[in-house]
């Protein structure tokens, strides 16, 4: 207990603290930007980021992962905020947390195995595109100053790290923000700043119960939003934790992460923050900066709050162009560029799954729908592919009146049709033997197809003898399990 505490908190002290600070600096512009997407004051996103970060540091299942207010969630709450206001958002945030805790209790984190790699890539790319698109309002109908500032910001972010010595010790997004704020204050040009977007936090967050009537009407309003946010939040969190697992080559507890996200959202809702989830870009920044344990996540949250509360005067003067530059960086860093390169090598079906996921998300602004469509499509492609693993051959016996059909492979809903058409009912025969010993009947459709074949033959006056039906339909039952004994697998795959 003590040892694992030590391992999960203090095994990597200096890099963790440093990474936490770097992440906190990058979180500020994101939290502000996502609040603006959602249509609430920047302080809502900032309080949420602080709260979610700190709570997931303790309650989460993936040490070193960063969770805060995110774009994916912000996009889902736009209409709720526009139609019903902030208080309903806070209530919805509470409910989201509750649903996520329930999901953790039911171990729904394990459902992630149904999400194929192509869908994950599609999700990540769609997320990057959404983050980028969310920046566009800041870049339309503005003076050339804003474009110049944004371009300069991107230049600083990507070129500053190449400077000798200081390039490696100062986070370039911070340099970008400081320099652009300096330029703005010195030149006095009239462009939008964070202060123009709404209220910034001036105190530590305080406990407050959302001011909504506690009745079914409220529930009816917030439930659809909460359900969607719970799903999207969990999906992004699970995907991010997988990414962090891979990067650090350490395991995580997915179900604890689900519940942790839930607790964090409840905490955020009670402290006047919006719902959030894990962030792919920030988690990558954290790992890259050397963050590995829960301490880096906690540091990020605490530093974020300290900076925002005590520097709110200065934060309000940051020009929006600087934030846009940082967010474009996050979007570029989140996008999976290798997936474009891989389009040529990957099979068409997986490309279609990936691109469809992206397209649906971009069209609906809802990652849950995109992933749902992607998973469905992937399942269809898979069923279709496996359905092709079916061979039916036949041989006329020497007597000229008996034919033996050999069925090898998988018979289920996608291949049942092909199974039926493989038999030649026009041939006049006295006897037909159907050998199913090397076939597998996976569902009721397959059994129905066999019945159909038998009846069709009988109507022609042919006697049918089915061999090995019991072995073939062993796969029919739902709790079908091949135990990891080599002979059991052998029996299944190589004929019975």
């Amino acid at each position: 207990m003590i040892r694992s505490l030590q391992q999960q908190w203090f095994s990597n002290l200096r890099p963790d603290l440093l990474a936490g600070i770097v992440v906190a600096l990058a979180l500020i512009p994101e939290a502000i930007a996502f609040s603006i997407i959602a249509g609430v004051d920047p302080k809502v996103g900032l309080y949420a980021s602080f709260c979610i970060c700190v709570i997931t540091a303790f309650a989460g299942g993936r040490p070193g992962m960063i969770s805060a207010a995110t774009g994916a969630m912000a996009l889902l709450m736009v209409t709720l905020v526009a139609e019903h206001g902030l208080q309903y958002l806070l209530a919805a945030t509470l409910l989201t947390g509750l649903l996520q805790i329930v999901a953790g209790g039911f171990k729904l984190g394990e459902l992630m195995r149904f999400v194929s790699r192509s869908v994950v890539t599609g999700f990540v790319n769609a997320l990057a595109i959404l983050i980028f698109m969310a920046q566009l309002p800041e870049l339309t109908d503005v003076t050339w100053h804003v474009y110049a500032m944004t371009a300069a910001g991107l230049g600083i972010i990507y070129l500053f790290p190449y400077l000798p010595v200081i390039g490696r010790i100062l986070p370039s997004p911070l340099v970008c923000i400081v320099v652009l704020t300096g330029v703005y204050l010195a030149s006095g040009i009239d462009i939008r700043t964070v202060g123009d977007m709404g209220e910034l936090p001036d105190t530590l967050p305080v406990f407050l119960w959302p001011e909504v009537p506690l009745n079914l009407e409220t529930l009816r309003i917030i439930f659809p939003y909460s359900a969607m946010m719970a799903v999207v939040g969990l999906m992004e969190s699970m995907m991010t934790s997988t990414i962090v697992d891979d990067l650090t080559d350490t395991p995580s507890d997915k179900n604890r992460e689900c519940a942790g996200q839930g607790v964090a959202n409840i905490g955020a809702g009670l402290l006047g923050g919006m719902a959030g989830c894990a962030m792919i870009g920030q988690s990558v920044i954290n790992v890259k900066s050397g963050g590995r344990t829960r301490l880096s996540t906690l540091t990020a949250g605490v530093v974020l709050l300290i900076m925002v509360v005590f520097l709110s005067e200065w934060v309000s003067r940051i020009p929006m162009a600087a934030l846009v530059a940082v967010m474009i960086m996050v979007s570029i860093g989140t996008f999976s560029w290798s997936s474009l390169r891989n389009l040529k090598q990957h099979p068409m079906s997986s490309n279609i799954v990936m691109l469809t996921t992206v397209a649906v998300v971009v069209a609906t602004h809802n990652l849950a729908i995109g992933v749902f469509v992607g998973v469905l499509l992937a399942a269809l492609f898979f069923a279709n592919k496996v359905g092709r693993v079916l061979y039916i051959g036949s041989e006329m016996q020497p007597d000229g009146r008996t034919r033996e059909y050999q069925v090898v492979g998988q018979v289920f809903f996608t291949s049942a049709e092909r199974f039926v058409t493989a038999f030649d009912f026009k041939e006049t025969l006295e006897y037909v033997r159907i050998d199913l010993r090397r076939a597998h009947f996976w569902d009721i459709t397959a059994v129905g197809a066999l019945d159909k074949v038998v009846i069709k033959f009988r109507r022609e006056g042919t006697e049918v003898d089915v061999v090995g039906l019991n072995e073939a339909s062993a796969t029919l039952v739902d709790r079908f399990g091949v135990h990891d004994k080599p002979d059991a697998v052998e029996a299944l795959m190589g004929g019975h």
Binding site: L247, M329, G333
Partner: protein, 284 residues
């Protein structure tokens, strides 16, 4: 399953003593000797690039970078471990063990040991690991967890090991202690050694009866058995006794109380391990 004397080797300066102790135990128990080296990757420090920016393909690059770094460190660790294991085997051969074996596993030491526990007859460990050489009163970071996680007897050595001739058996009349005495009596490890059976606490007829029974059991293997009842605080009393009687090895049961209690008041076992300047045989 063949039961091995298993000795954990790392880079600390306890490795030599561990070899000697393991060889001694292996010869006495007539059990094969295996040296084990666990390559623990979690102990490696993370590299930090605090530029805080992510660009084209950052995620893929980062994975590649981290994997490369780990690969290099892993290869080095393997190489180093093999050298250590070879040296340990060599030393064990000079100590008289015919065929010492060695194996390397990836993962934390405790996990590794738990995984192979059913092949372990006696585990030999140094008091501290490679990361804790400097602090005198500080225990090896793995030691306590190993003792808690494993159920086999564990021999903990200080930085030099001399085959003991006088052994102190700390007896508290508990079930654990009775079982412990039974096991020693059944094992060749204490054969021909001078035994001291010590109870710390107030004497009573019950205790005397228990001690007498334990003495009779030990008399079967030990060259001689001295029984003593001393009163006082357990740890300091035992220490005084050890000094007075020139004891060279201590046998004791491990971690009797609940963990909550230990968190509050500390445990005698931990105290004993921390202060002992002699080999310690812990029975669970």
């Amino acid at each position: 399953m063949n039961q091995h004397v298993t000795a954990c080797i790392d880079e600390s300066h306890y490795a030599g003593a561990v070899c000697d102790a393991a060889a001694w135990a292996s010869l006495r128990l007539d059990a094969p000797l295996t040296f084990i080296h666990a390559i623990d990757r979690t102990a490696r420090p993370a590299t930090a690039d605090v530029s805080g920016q992510i660009g084209l393909g950052s995620r893929e690059h980062l994975l590649e970078e981290l994997a490369q770094l780990d690969e290099k460190r892993g290869k080095l660790a393997q190489e180093q471990g093999r050298l250590m294991l070879d040296a340990a085997c060599e030393r064990a051969r000079t100590d008289g063990v015919a065929e010492p074996m060695s194996r390397q596993r990836n993962g934390e030491l405790v996990e590794t040991l738990v995984g192979i526990e059913d092949t372990i007859r006696l585990l030999v460990l140094g008091k501290r690991g490679e990361t804790g050489a400097a602090a005198v009163d500080h225990l090896g970071s793995n030691l306590e967890r190993v003792i808690r996680s494993l159920h086999c007897p564990i021999l903990i050595t200080p930085d030099t090991f001399t085959p003991p001739t006088r052994v102190l058996v700390a007896f508290d009349a508990s079930d654990t202690a009775r079982r412990m005495v039974k096991r020693i009596a059944a094992s060749p490890i204490a054969r021909g050694i001078e035994g001291h059976l010590v109870f710390v606490g107030e004497p009573s007829t019950h205790i005397e009866r228990e001690l007498e029974q334990a003495r009779r059991q030990l008399a079967g293997v030990c060259a001689s058995v001295t029984v003593e009842i001393v009163s006082g605080e357990v740890e300091s009393t035992l220490r005084a006794y050890k000094q007075a009687n020139d004891i060279e090895m201590l046998v004791m049961g491990a971690y009797g109380h609940s963990r909550v209690r230990q968190l509050l008041v500390g445990s005698t076992t931990t105290q004993m391990i921390r202060r002992a300047r002699m080999p310690l045989l812990i029975m669970r």
